[in-house]
Amino acid sequence: MKRYLLLTIYVFFLLPSLTACWNQKELTDLAFVMAIGIDKGKNQKFDVSWQLVNPGNVSSGQTGGGQGLPIAVYKSSGDTITEAARRATKKISRRLYYAHTNLVVISEGVAKTDLLDIVDALDRDPEFRTTTEMVIARGTSAENLVSALTNLDKLPVSKITKEIKSTQNMLGENMSVNVDDFISGIISSGKEPILNGYLLMGKKEQAQKAENLQSTKSDAYLEANGLAIFKNGKLKGWIENNNARGAIWILNKVKSTDINVEWNGKKDAISMASIRTKTKVSVNFKNGKPVIHIRIEDEGWISEANTAIDLTNPKVIEKLDKLVEKEIKRQIVNAVKAAQKKKSDIFGFGERVHRADPKLWNKLKRNWNEQFARLEVNVEVDSYIRREGIRTIPFWSTMNK
């Protein structure tokens, strides 16, 4: 018994060394912060909008029964994020809880100037997760974006985070970027970060109202749009559509997408959907200068053929393969050019050079972004059409006209 007692005392003395997150908090005393929106402040540096979830209105259980709105947005300002958060307690009855925060929205204004001043707050807080998605509000304030209601997903945050992932998988013009990715992009000398842009379309003032959810066609809705290019932690510009896809393709994040090619003089006659694609980036040196080789291996199927074409003929397929390769190459090259124009190495070519020749990199890294703008980039694409769907000859071929 004496030994037990000693052991008990010993274990309890060990307790204080494990006091990381000990304090008890009831679920009903917490305000789950789902999203944080950061705008430039009028009087102070930042205006921070806190999107809080109203649990009773989200869950469709017996006791819930959601009559009201699923979220509530509060706003507070401060010179630092912490100051704003502490000031928010004057307006919010519950303790702000960040462990379930899934989205950080930053306004273009903040992104162009003071973005670096908020990153540490997100990185340091033990509750806040660095796997939180980060987006930039394009053409609107972060507050508006955070306040918008969505109709398919009750929680606007899950709409955005799910949307980014699904469009990355199906189209490849946006990709999921979280706080961690962003920070690693900032600190690396051979790479610059990118962030997704988000637009609030339609009648912006309608976005925060319940009526917005009452119609099948929302008056205002959120849409992923473009990739923000950064340089030295500041927003430098945007790349969009095919260029954005090219950039993501180089980053090897494209899973599936669609490529349209011309056939028999008809534009966009054939549509090919990629099913597997892989990008390899390598570095060669020519006259002491790095040359980047991008090699893409792509497989896909014909998802549309809007012209008379004999898809049973291997020669035709081979020809199609070439056309697709050409089109992919064009998009990749354009993406590289767009980035070079902005002088921002979002592809991480610098890191490749660093790995290939660390000594040379030491010389190059000082003005790498200038070097990047003049970098020679070779693109090589291998594309194969593996299937034609459940029809070989399109109806165009048998049409008697």
């Binding site: 997150c21 009831e26 679920l27 009903t28 917490l30 789950f32 869950s59 259980g61 819930g64 509750e127």
Partner: protein, 533 residues
């Protein structure tokens, strides 16, 4: 000081009382010889038993001398005795002039085991177990004839430890029936049965069973020594025995195993354990008992090994759910909200929104309510029990949730915990988990998951410190023994369970022969065996 001395005095007084009681003990040897006059004997019996009405006397005349048969109505078989008088104590026998005592022995031999007894101690022993004692006038000795024949319950299906594929018989309240059931399964002269009586007043019969050559002699000695040390007025059931001779009282975990299934006891005996059959209890106790044994259900051995392994793992998982289910809920919702997936956290938060109690009290209320329901359901007459369970289910499941006192998640947690608790095959282990659950809930309230880990740590330390008759309780997990892993988490195929558990069966540990793996005969082996014959 005065209080202390008072207490001491009281203790002394108590001790004196104890001594007094022992002097009065009816179990004390009473070596008084039997009277020559049979009427004196009757008078003595009547006096000693206080004219108890269940004692029957039958006077008769035998070979010229008068005599009397004494037996307890209900314990001795009435028909047997009546038939005896009808057939043997006839007119002509009454008039025969010979050594009537010897004649009596010869005649009564037809009834059952006959013994000549000389003192009162033996008289009492004989009468109380259901024998008939014949006193003959003019003899200073009597005859004890075995006429046991009381009403007993027939062998029925087991009611608490059920199995799907196993045998359907179970033990009864009669010691002999129980030992016979085991003997029928182990047809070996090495199955030894030793008997003793326990309980100074009740004189309960106890049979110690073991297989000579398999059971560890040291443990047999230890069991006997501990049984001999017991000095108590009565051992009403095997549960008394378990509590009187277990290794550690201060533990919720059972260190003795019991079963109402003869097949379970048989397999325990084959592993070298010692079984104790207590008269009047349909549960046979086996020792030593190990922790993992309480998760081995009889069906584990009757089903294929892969299936029984998965089911056993499931059972162990269920034990942990029963242990920390509500505690994990409390810890998760009050300390570690970040660990719950977002949508689930919001769903729980929504349900808890209108609940007036903190998570701990909510859980405590529900758990206690459930325990009350379970206890009530157990005690109430069968017909009423049904009604109570319906009302309970409605009250807990529906009304409490609708009234907003409890969140639906809590109902789910309590239900899962309760169901998981029922999957432990042996009740004594299940009830240990029930008790520890409340401690875990308390720890979770104060310290969250850290508290739960602390609780599990303490529990593990405690479990490792336990011993059952000298065998470490957590054997073969801690101390780890690679040879004994065949029946722990993974139940090996029967042919691969080569060894008996260590320490329990010392020396004789090999169970199977060589090459027991079944399969179609190999071609060349077949030919060689044919050549041999």
């Amino acid at each position: 000081m005065s209080i202390l001395s008072n207490i001491l005095k009281k203790k002394q007084k108590k001790r004196q009382n104890d001594n007094f009681r022992q002097m009065q003990d009816p179990g004390k040897p009473d070596e008084l010889p039997i009277h020559r006059d049979y009427k004196d004997n009757i008078a003595r019996i009547k006096e000693e038993y206080g004219n108890s009405t269940d004692i029957s006397y039958r006077e008769f005349k035998f070979c010229g001398s008068r005599g009397i048969a004494v037996y307890i109505d209900g314990l001795a078989s009435n028909t047997l005795i009546s038939d005896f008088f009808m057939e043997t104590v006839t007119e002509e026998v009454r008039e025969m002039v010979t050594d009537s005592f010897q004649q009596m022995i010869d005649f009564t031999a037809g009834l059952g085991n006959v013994e000549s007894i000389t003192n009162w101690n033996e008289v009492h022993d004989a009468i109380l177990v259901g024998n008939t004692v014949f006193f003959l006038d003019g003899f200073q000795k009597a005859l004890s004839v075995e006429t046991k024949g009381w009403e007993k319950r027939a062998i029925s299906e087991p009611s608490t430890q059920l199995s799907i594929q196993g045998p359907k018989d179970s033990f009864t309240e009669t010691l002999r029936t129980n030992t016979a059931q085991i003997r029928r399964r182990i047809k070996s002269p090495n199955l030894w049965i030793e008997s003793m009586k326990l309980g100074t007043v009740t004189q309960t019969d106890i049979a110690i069973m073991y297989i000579k050559g398999i059971a560890n002699e040291k443990i047999i000695g230890e069991v006997k020594e501990r049984l001999n040390r017991i000095n108590i007025d009565g051992v009403q059931a095997s549960g008394f025995l378990e509590q009187l001779f277990e290794d550690q009282t201060w533990t919720p975990f059972p260190t003795t195993h019991h079963s109402e299934r003869p097949d379970v006891i048989t397999s325990h005996l084959l592993e070298g354990r010692i079984a104790l059959v207590v008269d009047g209890t349909p549960f046979v106790v086996t020792v030593p008992a190990l922790f993992i044994q309480f998760f081995q259900a009889p069906d584990d051995y009757y089903a294929r090994f892969d299936i029984s392994t998965s089911i056993r793992l499931l059972r162990i998982l269920a034990f942990f759910i029963a242990l920390i289910g509500p505690a994990a809920y409390i810890a998760g919702t009050t300390f570690h909200q970040e660990m719950i997936p977002t949508t689930m956290a919001i769903a729980i938060a929504a349900q808890r929104e209108n609940v007036p109690f903190p998570a701990f009290f909510e859980a405590l209320i529900m758990e206690v309510t459930f325990e009350i329901l379970r206890e009530a359901g157990l005690r109430l007459p069968r017909a009423v029990g049904q009604a109570v369970s319906i009302v309970g289910a409605l009250v807990i499941g529906q009304a409490a949730v609708q009234a907003g006192f409890v969140s639906p998640v809590m109902v789910i947690v309590v239900s899962i915990t309760a169901i998981a608790n029922f999957s432990t095959p042996v009740f004594t282990m299940a009830i240990a988990a029930r008790l520890i659950r409340f401690i875990m809930m308390g720890l979770a309230t104060i310290l969250g998951f850290y508290g739960i880990m602390l609780g599990i740590m303490f529990m593990t330390i405690h479990l490792c410190s336990l011993r059952s008759f000298g065998v470490p309780y957590m054997m073969p997990i801690a101390p780890f023994n690679i040879r004994n892993q065949q029946d722990v988490f993974i139940r090996f195929p029967i042919w691969a369970m080569k060894n008996r558990p260590m320490f329990i069966s010392k020396g004789n540990v090999v169970r199977t022969g060589e090459n027991q793996k079944p399969g179609p005969p190999k071609q060349d082996e077949d030919q060689s065996s044919q050549g041999d014959s």
